[in-house]
Symmetry: C2
């Protein structure tokens, strides 16, 4: 049986009379130290984003508000996961084509990454991605 492409992670929540506090800590739910955090917000209706893979980057996706659908492919298999606030986070390793779609208007999608931005780490052409996988 093939291993899943997406690694789903429960984010610890601490709720008390004050409200909620959620935590992603290295060595517990975070499998890497974070060198870049970015967040996608105010996404316009009908927009899909992503359409690339990474050669080395590892990322954790966390939906902080609203909802979004995350789809990944390794060139042969695909998986789709609907994300929402209070839902599971997703860890994505290298070599996965990803598309994010169905953003709710209020969606805030946080992405924690283990490397700084490096354009050379991106594969932005799907045919090139499939060929790179075949020769990987």
């Amino acid at each position: 049986m093939s291993s899943p492409l997406l690694e789903l992670v429960d984010i610890p929540q601490r709720g008390d009379a004050r409200g909620h506090l959620s935590i992603a800590e290295y060595g517990k739910v975070l499998p890497f130290v974070v060198r870049r955090a970015y967040w996608i917000h105010g996404t316009n209706h009908g927009v899909s984003r992503g359409f690339h893979a990474h050669r080395n980057l590892r990322q954790m996706f966390i939906c902080l508000r609203g909802g979004v659908t995350l789809a990944v492919s390794d060139g042969e298999r695909s998986e789709t996961f609907p994300m929402s606030a209070f839902g599971k986070a997703v860890v994505i390793g290298p070599g996965l084509w990803r598309v994010m779609s169905d953003f709710s208007a209020d969606c805030i999608l946080m992405v924690l990454a283990d490397r700084e931005y490096d354009e050379a780490d991106y594969i932005r052409n799907f045919d090139e991605f499939v060929i790179a996988k075949c020769h990987g």
Copy 2:
């Protein structure tokens, strides 16, 4: 002239036809690598949080939605900074007593920290904090 207690940081925003993407990257706006991320959300009306200092921890506070007021003190001086989404982020070093208040109902406050959780790093008693500062 005394140096400010709070270091204010502009978060780069990339807006295009798709929406917004905001970035905190190590070596640019992030002065440390992140080993723990936590976010405060769903805070109840009238609640204030914090009321502690850290012996070593460095943190970046980023308001992702809504608003909150951050107040810090070094035992002698105090500074207050109203945070809001699209506003400046704040870097806080060790040795600062901090209180967060005036959370809007929809506030999401992200905190990026350079160390894992360690209860021994907390000073939770203000008198102890002031004494620790005097003997620092």
